[in-house]
C-alpha cells in the first residue's frame, strides 16, 4: 500500500491505496465520486475523462500514484455553488445526452476543447476533437450542437454586461 495526496474538485484528499489503483478507481471507489465512468479497457471510449492540472486525460490509463500533488477536476466539480457550468447547461438544452453514461467524459472533453481552441468552434473542429470520446446513443449530432453552444456561452461572461450596457 502507498499513500497519495491530491486535490480533487478543490478539496485536499489523501488515500492509502494499492499501487495498482488507477485514478478512475481512486475517484470511484475511494472518494465515491461515481460520475466518472469506465466504458472500455483500451483507453478509447473517454467515459473516464477528467481534468488533471487543467488538461483532459483518461483516468482509466493513469495511476493514482502518478498524480501526487496534482489538481483533479471531475464532472462533480464542474458546477460551482450549485449553478451548472455553461457546458452542462448546453448539453441539457441541446439534448446532447441520452443514457448519460458517456456524458461526464463528454462534457469534460468539451470544456477541454474550449480551453484549447476558444469559444468560436466550427462543426469540423468539434467532431475532430471528439476523437477520444465514444457515444453510442446520440449519433453525436446534438453533442456537436451542445458543444458549440456551450463554448459560446463559456465565452459569454462579458456578453451580458455588454448587452446590459447597450
Amino acid at each position: 500500500m502507498a499513500t497519495v495526496s491530491m486535490t480533487v474538485n478543490g478539496k485536499a484528499v489523501t488515500g492509502t491505496i494499492d499501487p495498482r489503483t488507477l485514478l478512475v478507481q481512486f475517484l470511484r471507489e475511494n472518494l465515491r465520486l461515481t460520475g466518472t465512468h469506465v466504458g472500455c479497457d483500451t483507453s478509447q471510449c473517454g467515459a473516464c475523462v477528467v481534468h488533471v492540472d487543467g488538461k483532459a486525460i483518461k483516468s482509466c490509463t493513469t495511476l493514482a500514484l502518478s498524480l501526487e500533488g496534482a489538481s483533479v477536476t471531475t464532472i462533480e466539480g464542474l458546477a460551482v455553488d450549485g449553478s451548472l457550468h455553461p457546458m452542462q447547461e448546453a448539453f441539457r438544452e441541446h439534448h446532447g445526452l441520452q443514457c448519460g453514461f458517456c456524458t461526464p467524459g463528454m462534457i469534460m472533453a468539451a470544456v477541454d476543447i474550449v480551453n484549447r481552441r476558444g469559444h468560436a468552434l466550427d462543426e469540423q473542429t468539434i467532431r475532430e476533437d471528439l476523437d477520444g470520446n465514444i457515444c453510442r446513443c446520440t449519433g453525436y449530432h446534438n453533442i456537436v450542437k451542445a458543444i458549440a453552444a456551450g463554448a459560446e456561452a463559456m465565452g459569454g461572461k462579458a456578453k451580458p454586461a455588454r448587452q446590459a450596457a447597450e
Binding site: H37, C45, L97, Q98, C99, T103, P104, T138, G139, H141
Partner: protein, 787 residues
C-alpha cells in the same frame, strides 16, 4: 400546445443528474460487505471439459468460494431459457440444446462461463482464476454461418446438423407462379454483418441475499427487470417472485443487448446466498465483446420479380441465420417473426415466400440488436428494389413510388396488416430536403475533384410497439406483450406514475411526465416517473421493439382515464352536482353550464380526506392502474436518403448529406424523437461502413476490443436533416408508432445504395471499409474506362 405538453420539446427532467455526475448506474452501487465475482471464461471455441481443479485457487488470499456448473445442478438452478418457440416447416418444434449458466461438461464459445470465483477484491478473484487448472479436450469449431449445417462438428447433440430450425413464411406456390410469369428477376446475395451492440455502460450485477427475510435482491443492467425476475423465478428457480427483487437503476444504453437474462447476473444473485455476502460483477469491455449477445449475422439469397410495367410481383428469400452457441432469451424470434413479416417493405407485393434456417455455431449467442430482424429485412428489400430500378433503367425514387402501398389497411402476404401510412409523402419531402434535382450537378462537381459521388435511398417500414399478446402468443412467444401503468395521485395533487417500461436513454421520465401533466393539467414538475424496480412497479414487460411509447404510454393513458373518471365522482360530491354533468379540462373539474369548478389538486385532497362523500358509496383515495394490450403492431415508416463522396485513391467514404423523413404518427416530444433518429442512423452507418464482428476459423473473436471493432466516432458522421410526416396510428389511443429503431433500420441500405451508385453499380459487402471500397472503386474505374 403548452410549453410542457404533448408535442413540445421539453428539456429532459432526468438530465440534471447525468450532467452533474449523479446518475446511479449498477456499478455505482456498493452494498455493505460486498465481495467480487470474476468469471473464468473458456479460451476455446469448442472443447470438452475433463476436469476443473480449483483446489489451489480456493486457498488463495481473499477467496470466498469457487463455483462450477456442478454446484448449479446440486442447487437445482435451472439453465437459461429461450422464450420463443419456433416450429419447423413440418410442424415439429425447434431443436434447442441446454444453456447452463456455468458450463456443464462442455464449452461452446470463447468466453463461455467455466466457473465463478468470488473473493474479497476483484484482483484477488482474478489472481485465483489463474490458479484454476481446467483440462480441456479441444474440439473443432463451427464458425461460418453459411456452412454450419454441413459441418462435421456438432455444437449441440440435440441439433445434429447444427440446425435449430428450418422455418418458412408466405405462399410458396403463388410466389413460384409470380416468378414464372415475371418479365425481369433481380437477384442478390447478401451478408448482413454480425455486430456487437456495445452500449457504453458494460453489463453489471450486484446480488444480495437477506438471510432474515430469505429474500434476494439483484441490481442489474436490464431493459426489463420484471422479465428478468420472471425468468429467474419461474424458469431458473433462484427464488419465488415474492422473494426476489430486481432493480434496474440508471442503465447506460441497451439497444437490445440488455433485454436478455444472462449467466452473470443469474450467478451473482445465486452465489450471494452461497457466500453470505453481496456479490458484484462488472463486465469490462473485453468481456462484453465476448459475452454480450451479438446482433444480425444473416446470409441471404433474395430475388425480386417484376412485370413489364415495372410492378413488383413477387419476392423470395432464403436466409441462414447464425444464433451462436446457445439460444439467448429471444433469439429464435429475431430471424423469424421479427424478420420475414417485414419483407413486404413499403410495397404492394402480392406474393412473398421466405425460408429461414437457423444454425448453431461456436460463437457468442446472437439475439436482438436495435431493430432486431427488421434491419435485416429492410436491407434485403431496399437493396433488391434499388438494384431492380437500376436494372430496369428506372429512377429509384420513382420506381419506389410506383410500387408503394397506397391504400390502407393493407394486408401483406406475410402476416402483417398495415393500418395506416403515406409513403409517397415521406419520399417527396425527403427528395426536397436532399435537393434531388441538384444531385447530377453535385456528382459532376465531385468528379472534377477526382471523387465519386453517390446517392442512395432507403424506404423502410418496421413493425414495432410489440405487440398484441394473443398475436405473439399464436406465433410462439412465451409471454404476453402488454404494458402496465399505475398513476398514484398524492393528497395535494402531485403524481407518481409507475410504469413497466424501462428508460435507458429514451427519456421516459420526461415524455411520460409530459403526457400525464398535459392530460391532468398539472405542472410537469409535479409528475414523477417510477420504473425499474420490481418492488415498486408490480409487473411490466420492459423496453424493446420501440414499444414504450405505443404500449407503455397507452397504459398510462388508460390509467389516467381512470383517475379522471374517479376524480369526476369525487368532484360530483364536492360540487354537489350530478357526475354526468362534470367535465374535466385544463386541470379543473367543472359543472357544465356553471362556473362551479374544482382544481385537480383540491379534488385529490378531497379524495383522501373523504369528508364530502360516504366511504361506502365511493372508495377514498385516488390511484388507478391499467394494463394495456395493443390491438396491432404499429408501422412506422419513412424515407432516408444518403449522399456521399468516395475518394477512389484511398477508398474513404465521406457522408455529405443525410435526409431522414420518418412517420412516427403523433409525437410527444420532437426533440427526443429526433435524438432517437440521430442515434439510430449512427448505428446503421456503423453497420454499413465501420462495424463487423469477425471470428477466425478457430472461433477466436478477432474484433474483441475498440482497437479492432470500429465504433462510429463524431468525425465519421455528418449532421442529419430530420423531417417528419404524421399519419396517426389508429391502433392506440395516442396515435403514436415508435421511433427507437427507425434509424438503425433505415440507414444501412441507404449507405450501401449510395456507395454502389457512386461506384457505378459495383456491389459491396458491409462493412464497406476503406479497403473494400478502394478495391471496388479500382474495378469500377477500370470498367468505366473500358466502356
Amino acid at each position: 400546445m403548452s410549453a410542457t405538453g404533448i408535442g413540445a420539446s421539453v428539456r429532459r427532467k432526468e438530465d440534471h443528474r447525468f450532467i452533474t455526475g449523479q446518475g446511479r448506474y449498477t456499478d455505482d452501487i456498493n452494498r455493505p460487505g460486498q465481495a467480487h465475482a470474476y468469471f473464468l471464461r473458456s479460451p476455446h471455441a469448442h472443447a470438452t471439459i475433463n476436469t476443473i481443479d480449483t483446489k489451489a485457487a480456493a486457498k488463495m488470499p481473499g477467496v470466498l468460494g469457487i463455483f462450477t456448473g456442478d454446484d448449479l445442478t446440486a442447487d437445482k438452478v435451472g439453465g437459461l431459457i429461450c422464450g420463443w418457440m419456433i416450429h419447423n416447416k413440418d410442424g415439429s418444434p425447434m431443436r434447442a440444446g441446454a444453456h447452463p449458466a456455468l458450463a456443464q461438461g462442455k464449452v461452446r464459445y470463447v468466453g463461455d462461463h467455466v466457473c465463478v470465483i468470488v473473493a474479497e477484491t476483484l484482483a484477488q478473484a482474478r489472481d485465483a482464476s489463474e490458479a484454476i487448472v481446467v483440462d480441456y479436450s479441444v474440439l473443432p469449431a463451427v464458425v461460418d454461418t453459411a456452412s454450419a449445417a454441413k459441418a462435421k462438428t456438432v455444437v449441440h447433440a440435440e441439433a445434429p446438423d447444427n440446425t435449430v430450425f428450418n422455418w418458412h413464411l408466405g405462399n410458396k406456390d403463388e410466389t413460384e407462379k409470380a416468378f414464372k410469369a415475371a418479365k425481369h428477376v433481380t437477384k442478390l446475395d447478401i451478408v448482413n454483418n454480425r455486430l456487437v451492440p456495445n452500449p457504453m455502460e458494460p453489463r453489471a450485477a450486484v446480488g444480495d441475499y437477506d438471510q432474515g427475510e430469505g429474500a434476494f435482491t439483484l441490481y442489474t443492467t436490464s431493459q426489463n427487470p420484471h422479465v428478468a425476475r420472471l425468468v429467474l423465478s419461474a424458469f431458473i428457480g433462484i427464488a419465488p417472485e415474492n422473494k426476489l427483487r430486481v432493480i434496474a437503476p440508471d442503465v447506460g444504453g441497451g439497444f437490445g443487448s440488455k433485454i436478455f437474462i444472462y449467466a452473470e447476473e443469474t450467478v451473482c444473485v445465486w452465489v450471494a446466498k452461497k457466500v453470505g455476502r453481496p456479490v458484484k460483477w462488472t463486465s469490462d469491455r473485453s468481456e462484453a465483446f465476448l459475452s454480450d449477445a451479438h446482433g444480425r449475422d444473416h446470409v441471404t439469397h433474395a430475388e425480386l420479380a417484376t412485370d413489364a410495367e415495372g410492378k413488383i410481383t413477387g419476392l423470395r428469400v432464403k436466409t441462414t441465420a447464425n444464433l451462436g452457441a446457445y439460444l439467448s432469451t429471444f433469439s429464435s424470434s429475431v430471424p423469424t417473426y421479427l424478420y420475414a413479416p417485414l419483407l413486404s417493405g413499403s410495397y404492394d407485393i402480392p406474393a412473398i415466400y421466405a425460408e429461414v434456417d437457423a444454425v448453431y455455431t461456436n460463437t457468442a449467442p446472437v439475439d436482438a440488436y436495435r431493430g432486431a430482424g427488421r434491419p435485416e429485412a429492410t436491407f434485403v428489400v431496399e437493396r433488391l428494389v434499388e438494384v431492380a430500378a437500376r436494372e430496369l433503367g428506372k429512377d429509384p425514387a420513382k420506381f419506389r413510388m410506383q410500387n408503394y402501398i397506397k391504400k390502407f389497411p393493407h394486408q401483406t402476404p406475410v402476416i402483417m396488416m398495415y393500418d395506416a401510412g403515406n409513403y409517397g409523402a415521406a419520399m417527396k419531402k425527403a427528395l426536397e430536403i436532399i435537393d434531388y434535382k441538384g444531385v447530377g450537378k453535385r456528382k459532376r462537381d465531385s468528379a472534377r475533384n477526382g471523387k465519386l459521388r453517390g446517392i442512395g435511398f432507403s424506404s423502410y417500414i418496421e413493425a414495432c410497439g410489440i405487440a398484441p399478446s394473443a398475436a405473439v402468443g399464436s406465433l410462439g412467444a412465451g409471454v404476453g406483450l402488454w404494458e402496465s401503468a399505475e398513476v398514484r395521485v398524492n393528497p395535494i395533487g402531485t403524481v407518481e406514475v409507475l410504469t413497466g417500461s424501462h428508460s435507458h436513454g429514451q427519456g421516459h421520465e420526461t415524455t411520460f411526465a409530459q403526457l400525464v401533466s398535459d392530460r391532468l393539467g398539472i405542472p410537469i414538475e409535479n409528475v414523477s416517473i417510477v420504473h425499474g424496480d420490481t418492488d415498486k412497479v408490480q409487473m411490466g414487460m420492459g423496453t424493446y421493439g420501440s414499444r414504450s411509447g405505443a404500449v407503455g404510454m397507452s397504459a398510462i393513458f388508460r390509467a389516467v382515464d381512470k383517475v379522471i373518471a374517479k376524480g369526476k365522482k369525487v368532484a360530483a360530491y364536492v360540487l354537489e352536482a350530478d357526475e354526468a354533468d362534470i367535465d374535466f379540462a385544463d386541470g379543473h373539474f367543472k359543472v357544465k353550464g356553471t362556473d362551479k369548478a374544482l382544481d385537480f389538486g383540491s379534488c385529490a385532497l378531497q379524495a383522501y380526506v373523504a369528508h364530502k362523500f360516504n366511504g361506502q358509496d365511493l372508495e377514498p383515495g385516488l390511484k388507478e392502474g391499467a394494463f394495456y394490450d395493443p390491438t396491432n403492431f404499429t408501422f412506422p415508416a419513412g424515407v432516408h436518403i444518403c449522399e456521399l463522396e468516395i475518394d477512389p485513391a484511398t477508398g474513404v467514404t465521406h457522408i455529405e448529406r443525410w435526409a431522414a423523413v420518418d412517420d412516427f404518427g403523433n409525437v410527444i416530444n420532437p426533440m427526443i424523437v429526433e435524438g432517437q433518429v440521430h442515434g439510430g442512423i449512427a448505428q446503421g452507418v456503423g453497420q454499413a461502413l465501420l462495424e463487423g464482428a469477425k471470428y477466425n476459423s478457430d472461433g477466436q473473436l478477432v474484433t474483441a476490443s475498440f482497437m479492432d471493432y470500429c465504433m462510429p466516432r463524431a468525425g465519421d458522421l455528418p449532421s442529419f436533416d430530420v423531417g417528419m410526416t404524421v399519419t396517426p396510428c389508429p391502433s392506440n389511443p395516442l396515435g403514436i408508432k415508435g421511433c427507437g429503431e427507425a434509424g438503425a433500420i433505415a440507414a444501412p441500405p441507404a449507405v450501401i445504395n449510395a456507395i454502389t451508385d457512386a461506384l457505378g453499380h459495383e456491389d459491396i459487402a458491409m462493412p464497406a471499409t476503406p479497403q473494400a471500397v478502394w478495391r471496388a472503386a479500382q474495378k469500377s474505374l477500370k470498367r468505366m474506362a473500358a466502356e
